[in-house]
């Protein structure tokens, strides 16, 4: 216990002191901040550009065969009516006129033609906007506001659903169990590499012989894993806190939606299942990555195995729609119960509410057994790989054929 605490604090403190840890931790909220800033300034610029276009005066001529264009609306935009289509087009071509709009009859079948002075790929669209606005404003008085809203699909709807006599909110219900899925993704992406190198470091630095004659391999590895979990919490906090601060302080300026966290429904069963699946998934992948680190002589070589694990783990994300729409299909069942692919399907299905309790229990048992197995294999491989400084550990060690073993020997 004393040594476990020593390993934990050594590993935790030395990582927390690294600049790279904080760069990685703060990069995520910074990137999110930059994205929001770009979106904010982009919105501002677009609004400004629209206002600029609205205030600009073009020389426009219009030919209206549809009979829908109102003269007073056209005159607001400074447009004059034309009866000679070709003459107007020639004026545009020669630069005497900014734009010419030709509204044909039967607009449901024919195309409105816009001829305009080229002002660049981005600004050219303004002419079509003006042509559309003139047409819409001309016909607006003929249709009531409700019909306009229906036709423009701008009617708002509210749905109220019930399950077992209680009102439900499927979208909000996803949030609590779904958080674990997001956490898992972030942890693996940000910590996968660190888990991998946590054991290759001892080998690469040739420290294993000294350390494993001082403490046992299991204590070392558990201490490392616990420190990684603690570091993960620090990293999660360092991601969430800046986002929360920015949200609270700048929500209005950034036009962010108003989340009322007090209204988020928490289903204790689904949230608990999500937490358990998350915990065992994290342990399983920690064990696997530590085992890979124990086999490979260098972090670089371990990296190629890491890629394979990531494909298994995140590959199911490509079948997201399948997990939501066909939860009972054989492929979904397989991906949910195969240990290497199980975390994402199980957590996703649980979040959207289509993971039955029996399926959840089977999945949890599979993950629990796999994670214990992965961790014990990791410890075994680490003990055996202790003196394989420059070569990959042969897998025969799993069959107990190796004489290299960093644990008390069974002397006669």
């Amino acid at each position: 216990m004393y040594n476990l605490r020593t390993v934990f604090s050594f590993e935790f403190i030395r990582t927390i002191k690294k600049k790279s840890f904080w760069i990685m931790s703060l990069l995520f909220p910074v990137i999110i901040g930059v994205v929001f800033a770009i979106e904010y300034f982009s919105n501002e610029t677009t609004i400004q550009a629209t206002e600029d276009i609205a205030s600009q005066v073009f020389s426009i001529e219009i030919t209206d065969q549809s009979g829908l264009i109102k003269g007073d609306v056209a005159s607001i935009f400074g447009a004059k009516m034309s009866t000679d289509k070709q003459a107007s087009i020639d004026k545009v071509a020669s630069g005497q006129l900014d734009a010419y709009f030709f509204y044909p009859d039967n607009l449901d079948k024919n195309t409105v033609e816009v001829y305009a002075k080229d002002v660049g790929i981005f600004d050219n669209s303004r002419y079509q906007s003006v042509a559309t606005t003139i047409l819409q404003q001309s016909v607006a008085p003929n249709v009531d506001a409700e019909t306009t809203a229906i036709l423009k699909d701008s009617v708002s709807y509210s749905s109220t659903t019930y399950r077992d006599g209680k009102q439900t909110n499927n979208f909000k219900e996803i949030i609590a169990p779904g958080i674990f899925l997001v956490l898992f993704y972030i942890l693996i992406v940000m910590f996968g590499n660190q888990m991998l190198t946590s054991t290759t470091e001892e080998k690469e630095n040739r420290v294993t012989e000294m350390i494993l004659t001082t403490i046992n391999a299991k204590t070392l590895i558990i201490g490392k894993i616990l420190s990684l979990i603690a570091l993960a919490f620090v990293q999660i906090l360092s991601i969430i806190l800046p986002i929360l601060i920015v949200y609270i302080l700048f929500r209005n300026q950034l036009a962010l939606p108003n989340f009322d966290l007090s209204n988020i429904p928490i289903d204790p069963v689904r949230t608990s299942i999500a937490a358990v699946i998350f915990a065992f998934s994290f342990l399983l992948f920690t064990g696997l990555l530590v085992a890979i680190g124990a086999i490979a002589p260098t972090a670089k070589e371990a990296g190629s195995f890491f890629g394979v694990i990531m494909i298994f783990l995140f590959g199911p994300l490509y079948a997201v729609t399948l997990f939501v729409s066909m939860p009972n299909s054989p492929i979904v069942k397989f991906l949910s119960f195969f240990p290497l692919t199980a975390p994402i399907p199980l957590m996703l299905r649980n979040a959207v509410g289509n993971l039955s309790i029996p399926d959840a229990l089977i999945g949890i048992v599979i993950l629990a057994i796999s994670s214990v197995l992965a961790l014990s294999i990791a410890v075994r491989l680490f003990r055996h790989g202790v003196l394989q400084y420059s070569s990959r550990l042969p897998l025969s060690v799993l069959l107990n054929k190796s004489r290299i073993i960093a644990k008390p020997s069974k002397n006669k």
Partner: protein, 253 residues
């Protein structure tokens, strides 16, 4: 300080030790004892089985046959033996500071943080590295890193000190410094197992020695007894005589 040894106080006892790697037998039927408080020379050419024996003694290798005991029991990290082991393969956490690394190993060896820090600082003063206390290990020269590793090895004032090629890469000044440190630990009661090729060090420090050849004990006894067996020649001459006909065979692992 030469000690008188008796067969009743064996700290290390190896009996009929055999070790194979695949089809190759590296050590065959090796038996010897090391007595409390003595400095024991473990000699042999490359590939003679010295490091293999040490690793098996410390439980890093599982022997094919035989019994390897420290204080009457197979070594494990939970043994109450205060062990100091400087392996042949040298290395440290290179990106950590000198003091953090020393304190870490001190704590793993059962010292309190304050005690580990105090002993680390004393050692750094002793070897003239006080100014490097807070430097990262990869900023130190190879020789300085070796001194730090020795400091880690002896930080717990071990009862059994196993040093595999401790002077490898040291200049004569630092070699002398290291010899003094080893001598001090022996005077304090430690049993020292000294794996080396440096015969003058063996002559100066060791009470007894064993010469391994082809995985067996070629000669074993006090330094005087070994010399007498080879007609009173120096250990250097004996080494050349015993191993001179061998090519430089790499150590098995």
């Amino acid at each position: 300080m030469k000690v008188s040894s008796t067969k009743n106080n064996a700290v290390v006892s190896i009996k009929h030790f055999r070790m194979d790697f695949g089809k190759k037998t590296v050590v065959k039927d090796l038996s010897f004892d090391i007595y409390k408080g003595e400095v024991f020379g473990f000699l042999g050419s490359n590939g003679s089985g010295k490091t293999t024996t040490i690793r098996a003694l410390l439980g890093l290798y599982q022997p094919i046959d035989g019994e390897l005991l420290i204080n009457g029991e197979p070594f494990s990290v939970s043994s109450k033996i205060k062990l100091g082991y400087l392996p042949e393969e040298r290395g440290l956490y290179k990106k950590e500071s000198v003091i953090d690394t020393m304190v870490y190993f001190g704590r793993l060896k059962g010292l309190s943080k304050v005690e580990a820090k105090q002993r680390s600082e004393n050692f750094l003063k002793q070897v003239g590295l006080t100014d490097k206390t807070n430097l990262r290990l990869d900023k130190l020269s190879g020789g300085e890193q070796q001194k730090i590793q020795l400091g880690i090895t002896v930080i717990n004032n071990p009862d059994v000190l196993i040093l595999d090629e401790p002077t490898k890469g040291f200049d004569p000044v630092n070699r002398r410094l290291l010899m003094n440190i080893i001598e001090n630990h022996q005077k304090a009661g430690a049993t020292v197992i000294f794996v080396t090729h440096q015969m003058e060090e063996v002559e100066r420090l060791c009470d007894r020695a064993i010469l391994l050849k082809d995985g067996t004990a070629y000669a074993y006894g006090t330094i005087a007894e070994i010399k007498k067996r080879f007609g009173g020649a120096s250990l250097d001459d004996i080494f050349i005589k015993v191993y001179g006909d061998e090519n430089n065979v790499e150590e098995n692992q």
